[in-house]
Amino acid sequence: MAFRPRQSHLPLDSDSSSRFLPAIVALMVALLTFALVGLTVLQDAVGRWSGQIEGSLTVQIPPNASADLSPEDRDHELRVRVDEILDVLADAPGISRVEELSPETMAALLEPWLGPNEVISELPIPRIIEITPTTGFNFDQLETLLAETAPEAILDDHRIWIERISDVAFSVELALITLIAVLFGATILSVVFATRSGLSIHRNIIELLHLMGAQDTYIAGQFARHSMRMAFWGGILGMGIALPVSGLIGYLGIRAGWDIPGSIYSPWFALLIMIVPVLVALVARITASRTVLKVLRRML
């Protein structure tokens, strides 16, 4: 058994008040584990979501609108300009991918509005180039570059969207981190209160040991080890409830087609979860020790 004291002078475990502390700790640790798993999943989802939006910028190149051009000439003229822009973009810094949407893709996109294929080749349809920015990308620089080469090209930046999405992502993360912090605080407080009420049940023992000439540190140590063990097993119990339930939800989610983020399987996340019962046990230990010492200091 972990944390087994070398000499258990006071088998406090065997009295019924000892069940209160593990129960409350189990509940709080279960909630905390749920929140941590939830935060990780949501953080990952929001990150991917905004990443998808951020990934795409488009450049629109409108066809020449003058009426005296034949459709063939117009098409050719547009082709030349698009190629020119493609060349410029290929050399621009901070861009990982440049792709012109093929006429087929365009047609497919426009079909609901314009009907079957043949019509489209007859119409002056703008060309669209998709850009995936990467690190080192500078929006203003690209805008200037385009203004020099092709002033008629329109850079559609989704800037508003990107800003909104990162706002949402930020709020969601902030809310979850606050929730975790609050749950952590509540866990610690409940360990503090459970430990204290446990000790008040044992007040007569504390007093008796004191009158028998036990050192304060001896008495405090007995109760600290006891509380630590109770809280540790409570924490393990809480995790034992929360992890399988999270796993079940995850399994059902995968079957329903969710993407389960890889960060859940990382050793860092496992370590974070493992730390919870240890931390709670330490809090219980410190609380018990300090509470007993405080009670003892009031005795003669």
Binding site: H9, P11, D15, L208, L209, M212, G213, Y218, L300
Partner: protein, 239 residues
């Protein structure tokens, strides 16, 4: 060093407890004990009688350092009970064995563990504890109740556990508050023989009791607690 100084010196050496003009009140209540002036010497054996509410248990509390006097001076093992630093108190307390009037056994510990407690606190090793506790429990007639918990014992059996716990550490001062209230005369005699054995080894004994018959049978020093103060009635009674 003249003869008087030498006398004072040797008296001091045998002094276990001394009270000088001691008085006690609980908070703002009346003075329960007053003008207490006495000395307990090494190897002394004292009985204390007194009406219920006279203050016997209160006097005991002063002696086992659970209560402080509101006036006067108390010295225990030569140390002033108020001026002694807190960290020295455990060592003094370990030299005092107490049989509480209400026993104060720990309910979720076995008879054995209850009796072993003072030894555990003092850091005595397991083997020694096993031997001494088992032997003593046999002696007080609880050899067959070693693993019982206190709530399963009769009042008299609980009292014997409390006595065993008080004497297991061979204290220099034994304070017993009504130690024979729940046992028949035969067991009471046996327990008093136990106290006498301990007394012969040098332990100073103070027993508070209502049982005047017992007091008379054992002789020793007899105190009467009356009007808040101790009156020595040894010669009055035996006469």
């Amino acid at each position: 060093m003249n003869a008087r100084q030498a006398d004072a010196r040797s008296a001091e050496l045998t002094e276990v407890v001394s009270f000088r003009d001691v008085g006690v009140r609980y908070e703002t209540g009346p003075e329960i004990l007053r003008d207490l002036n006495f000395t307990l010497h090494r190897g002394g054996f004292h009985f204390m009688t007194g009406a219920s509410g006279a203050g016997k248990s209160t006097l005991m509390k002063l002696l086992y350092l659970a209560l402080r006097q509101t006036r006067g001076e108390i010295r225990i093992f030569g140390r002033d009970n108020i001026r002694v630093p807190r960290e020295d108190l455990p060592a003094i307390r370990r030299k005092i064995g107490v049989v509480f009037q209400d026993f104060r056994l720990i309910n979720h510990l076995s008879t054995f563990e209850n009796v072993a407690l003072p030894l555990r606190v003092a850091g005595v090793d397991d083997l020694q504890i096993r031997k001494n506790v088992t032997e003593l429990l046999e002696w007080v007639g609880l050899g067959d109740q070693i693993n019982a918990i206190p709530s399963r014992l009769s009042g008299g059996q609980q009292q014997r556990v409390a006595i065993a716990r008080a004497v297991i550490g061979r204290p220099a001062l034994l304070l017993a508050d009504e130690p024979t209230g729940n046992v028949d005369d035969r067991i009471a005699m046996r327990l008093l023989y136990l106290f006498e054995e301990l007394n012969k080894l040098g332990t100073t004994v103070l027993i508070a009791t209502h049982n005047r018959q017992l007091v008379r049978r054992f002789g020793h020093i007899q105190w009467l607690l009356e009007g808040g103060t101790v009156i020595d009635v040894t010669n009055t009674n035996s006469a």
